[in-house]
Symmetry: C2
Subunit: 412 residues, 2 copies
C-alpha cells in the first residue's frame, strides 16, 4: 500500500471519454489498496480560450481578475473527474484551492505556494475517499483566487504530494517518460528509468518541456519522488502499467551515467554589445537596466579587452528581445557602447549529467564533437552538471545527434 | 444619487462585445453619480454545456459536484465584466459567492439564500468601486459551492439589492418590460409601467418567463423595487434609457387596472383519476404519493359524486407526467381507482390583477368570453388576484386574444 498523488494534464482530460479513462486509471490504484489524491488540469484548450478572453478585453488586464477567470478551467475538470469516479463506485470529491486551502502569495498570475492544509485530505484518504484537487490554482492572502503560471498544475501536484507525505507523485503527460534527448530528432533516444532531480532541473530549464521547472525545484527541495508517465500508452488511453521515468534523489541511482541527456532550445536570442569601455561596473551598467525591466539574461561571455574596449555577448528569451533592445538603447549613453548586434537564429545545446561532477572531459568531448562536424560555438556556459553552448540554429539536429552518439546514449 | 443593483442575463453577456456594452451601461450609471453593484449570469449557452457534461458522465451525478462545475460560468463572466469595466476607467472587482460570502442552505442544485454579508461591498461602493457579483451561486454550510437553480441569478440580484439596501434592482433581460400579455400572440399588448409584486408573482408562476418566481417572492418579502428592462433597446445594445416595468408595492400603483395581464402556459398536463371511491382520505391517498415523489400538483377539481365514486382531475408539469403515471399505478390498490386518463394537449390561461380584490365579475367575464368563442373550460382554479382555466391547447391564442380585448387591455 502506498499513498500516491496522480496528476493529469490537459490532454489527459480533454473530453469526457478521456476523463472516464482517468477515472478508470485512478480506480486501478484505489483497487490495488493505495490511498490516492488526484490533481487535474483544465480540459485542453480551455485555458487558452479564457486567457484570450481576458487579453481581448484588455491587454493590460487586472491579474486578479485574470486569475478568477482562468482558474475556472481546473474547477470544471475537478468536478467532472469526481463525478466520473463516483459513477464507477469510487468515493471522491473535488477541492478548489480556497477550500483546502492551498495558500499562495499574492503574485497573481504566477503565485508561489506558501502552504497546503493537508490534514483533512489525509483523513479523508484514509477513509477511502479520493480528493480531486483543481491544479494550477490557490488562494491568496486577500482571499482571492490565484494561479501558479502556465504548467502550474505540475507544481500543485508536487506540493500536494509533499503536504500529504505521499510516497510518489505520478505525472501523467503526453510523453511516456524522460528521454536521453528529443526522440523526434534522435530516433535512437532512450527512455531513462531514473533521473536525478538536479539533472531533471537542468533539462527542464534548458528546454525539455516534460515538467515545469518550478515543480522539479519543489520536488528536489521536498524530496518528492516524481514519476513521469504517459496517459496514452500502447495506443490505449492509460491502458498499461508500463513504468515511466522516476525523478529521484541522486543517491537512488546506482548506475550513474556520465551524461543523462542532451537538450536543446531555440527560444533564446543572442545580443552582442560592441565596443563598450572596459572599466569596472560596465557589466552592472548593462545588466542592471535589463534586470529592472524583468528581462532574464542567460548565457554571458565577455571578450578579451582590446584598446580599452570590449564586446559583451549574452542571450535573452526571444520574446524579450525587442524589450531588451529598447532598454539598452535607452541606456546607451550611460553604457557607452558603439553598437548593438542581435541574432535570433541560434540554438542552445546542453549536455546534462550528475556524472560530470566526478568525471573530467565531458566538456572537451562536447567541443571536439562539434568541431569535428564544423559547428562553430558562439557562447559557452557551464554549471556543475551541465555544459551549454550556443550554435547556429541550423546546426541543432546535427549537434544533438552527434553528441547523443558521442556520449554513448544511442539505444542498442 | 441612488444605490442600484444591475443584473445582466446570459444573452446580455453572450460574447465579449456584449460584455463591453454591459460595462458601458454600468459606467453610465456610475457617471450619473450612482453607487452600483452588478450581478452577471453565465455567457449564453455555457451553463447548458456544463450541465450536459455532468449528465453525460452520470445521469445521477452528485449535486455538489454539479454545483462546482456549473458555477464556473458565472465566475468567468464576473471576472471578464470586471476587466471590461476597468478598461473604461471604472473601478471594479469580481466577487464569488464564497468570497462575499453569499450563504445558502445545503440544498445543492436548488439552494436557498440564507444571508449575504453586505457591509464590505457597501463600504467599497461608497468608495467608488463596483462589485461584480457572480450570480446563481453561493456557498453552503460545508464550505462548498452551491447554485440556486436555473434562473437563479435574478434571485441573487434581488437578494443582493436587499442586503445592500439598494434603491432599485434593475434586471436587464431580452424583453423590455412586462406586458399585458405575450406580444407574440397579441400585437396590441401594452408594456406596463408598473406592476404589483403579487401580480408579477402570479404571472411568473403561471408562465410569464420574465422573472424567476423566487426572485419575485423575495422582492415582495424584502420590498425591493425591481425594474425589468431590455438589454437591446432600439436595435442598439443597451443603447437607450427607455424605462422598463417597475415591480413595486401595490400602494405605489395609483391607477390600478382591474386586470394587469393575461398569461398562458403549455407546460402542464391533465390527469384524470376515474371512478375512485368517494370516501374521506381519498385525496390524501392520491396526492400523498405524488408529493412524496416531489411532483408538484397545480389545479385540482373533484367531480360531484355519483354511485359512491367520483373523478378527480388535476394538472402536473408535463415533464413530471411519466413519473406521475408511474407513481399512481404503483398505488392503484390503495387508491382503488378504475382508470387513469392523461392529456398533454392543454393550456392554462390566467387572468391576473390586484383589482379583482375589490371588483366582482372578473371571473364571470372570463367564463362568458370563452363561452362566446366556443372554448370549453376543463378545470378552473382561482386565487385572490387570479383566475386560471385549463382549455384545449389549440385554443391558446384565441383565448388570450379574446380575454385581452374583453378586459380592455388592447393598446389604443
Amino acid at each position: 500500500m502506498a499513498r500516491i498523488v496522480m496528476k493529469f494534464g490537459g490532454t489527459s482530460v480533454a473530453d469526457l471519454d478521456r476523463i472516464r479513462n482517468v477515472a478508470a486509471r485512478v480506480k486501478r490504484e484505489v483497487d490495488a489498496g493505495n490511498e490516492v489524491a488526484v490533481v487535474v488540469s483544465a480540459m485542453a484548450g480551455v485555458t487558452n480560450t479564457l486567457v484570450k478572453y481576458c487579453q481581448d478585453l484588455s491587454p493590460l488586464h487586472d491579474a486578479r481578475e485574470y486569475d478568477a477567470v482562468v482558474a475556472t478551467g481546473e474547477q470544471v475538470t475537478s468536478g467532472l473527474t469526481a463525478i466520473a469516479l463516483q459513477s464507477i463506485g469510487v468515493d471522491a470529491r473535488s477541492w478548489q484551492g480556497w477550500q483546502i486551502p492551498l495558500s499562495t502569495d499574492g503574485a497573481h498570475g504566477k503565485a508561489r505556494i506558501e502552504g497546503i492544509a493537508g490534514d483533512e485530505l489525509i483523513r479523508r484518504m484514509q477513509g477511502g475517499q479520493v480528493p480531486v484537487v483543481a491544479g494550477f490554482q490557490g488562494v491568496g492572502p486577500d482571499n482571492r483566487v490565484t494561479t501558479l503560471g502556465r504548467g502550474g498544475s505540475d507544481t500543485s501536484a508536487v506540493a500536494l504530494a509533499a503536504a500529504l507525505k505521499a510516497d510518489r507523485c505520478d505525472i501523467y503527460t503526453d510523453v511516456d517518460g524522460v528521454y536521453t534527448t528529443d526522440p523526434r530528432i534522435v530516433a535512437r533516444a532512450r527512455k531513462l528509468a531514473k533521473i536525478a532531480y538536479e539533472e531533471m532541473l537542468e533539462l527542464a530549464s534548458v528546454g525539455a518541456k516534460v515538467l515545469q521547472t518550478r515543480s522539479v525545484e519543489l520536488a528536489m527541495k521536498e524530496r518528492v519522488r516524481v514519476q513521469v508517465l504517459s496517459s496514452f500508452e500502447g495506443g490505449n488511453l492509460l491502458g498499461s502499467d508500463l513504468p515511466g521515468t522516476l525523478v529521484v534523489d541522486e543517491d537512488e541511482i546506482v548506475e550513474k551515467e556520465l551524461v543523462a541527456g542532451i537538450a536543446y532550445s531555440r527560444d533564446e536570442a543572442k545580443v552582442t554589445v560592441r565596443r563598450v569601455p572596459d572599466r569596472p561596473g560596465i557589466a552592472a551598467a548593462i545588466f542592471g537596466p535589463l534586470s529592472a525591466a524583468a528581462i532574464n539574461v542567460d548565457m554571458i561571455v565577455q571578450n578579451v579587452s582590446a584598446d580599452g574596449t570590449t564586446d559583451l555577448t549574452f542571450t535573452v528569451g526571444k520574446t524579450d528581445l525587442p524589450r531588451a533592445e529598447q532598454t539598452l538603447a535607452q541606456h546607451k549613453s550611460e553604457i557607452g557602447y558603439e553598437m548593438l548586434l542581435t541574432e535570433k537564429e541560434v540554438a542552445k545545446i546542453s549536455v546534462v549529467g550528475v556524472g560530470m561532477r566526478s568525471h573530467a572531459g565531458v566538456a572537451s568531448t562536447m567541443f571536439r564533437t562539434l568541431a569535428d562536424r564544423g559547428i562553430n560555438i558562439e557562447v559557452i556556459s557551464t554549471s556543475e552538471i551541465k555544459v551549454s553552448v550556443l550554435v547556429g540554429a541550423e546546426y541543432t539536429e546535427l549537434a544533438v545527434r552527434a553528441l547523443h552518439t558521442a556520449y554513448g546514449l544511442d539505444a542498442a
